[in-house]
């Protein structure tokens, strides 16, 4: 904590997406920033809120990711949006991604989230989204706060970096 005070820089991240692939950027940047002495606050809203659930079951969607290319047998397999309609494709893509993550020594989201908790990153769940999607605080990991737009704005106004992911 001492270097956090010395550096006195801060960052806020709005986390809006809850798929396996989109869960990475906010947690990678958040945990790394914290390791570099930055005070980090993450605001989880809409589909990003699911990243705070105790039981994570993250999946990939090929829909809306037309540039996705999965390495396969020395080639790259494109994932055009139309294949998303085929039953089982998203599940297969998720399995492929999880295998790649393991094989390449990439951290799991569970590990990164644990690192985020350990490094005292402030995690705020959007109260409105909790109500909208009928989530209970008990379903979420311990140590989070509940808040709304004003809570985020107060953080953002005093932060050096504000990201929306």
């Amino acid at each position: 904590m001492s270097d956090a005070l010395e550096n006195a820089k801060s960052m806020s991240i709005i986390v809006t997406k809850g798929t396996l692939d989109w869960a990475y950027p906010p947690f990678i940047l958040g945990t790394t920033a914290a390791a570099m002495g930055v005070n980090v606050s993450m605001f989880f809203t809409f589909y990003g809120l699911t990243l705070l659930k105790k039981d994570l079951d993250l999946k990939i969607s090929t829909l809306g990711n037309p540039a996705m290319q999965m390495p396969m047998m020395g080639m790259h397999m494109a994932m055009p949006n139309v294949v998303s309609m085929i039953p089982g494709v998203d599940r297969a893509a998720t399995t492929m991604m999880k295998n790649l993550i393991k094989k390449k020594g990439v951290a799991s989201i569970e590990d990164l989230r644990e690192a985020a908790v350990e490094s005292d990153i402030e995690m705020i769940a959007c109260q409105m989204t909790m109500d909208l999607f009928e989530f209970e605080k008990g379903e979420m990991i311990d140590g989070i706060k509940l808040g709304g737009a004003a809570t985020y704005m107060e953080n953002a106004l005093k932060s050096d970096i504000n990201l929306y992911i």
Binding site: E6, A35, G105
Partner: protein
Amino acid sequence: MADVTVDAKGLNCPLPILRAKKALKDVPAGGTMEVLATDPGSAADFEAFCRTTGNTLVENSVDDGVYRYLIKNTA
């Protein structure tokens, strides 16, 4: 000999940095930490980490795909 050695071989971004930061807590002021990694991106990242946190990157070498960083706790 470094005070602490972190084996981050086989780990990808941002794990080498996170493991190093965690281990740095056990390094006395002025002491050194050795980090071993295989992630090629770690070369730029450890330089940036040290510049930002005020620690000293004493040594930065690569041998047969293994990157070795010697970091002095000067923060």
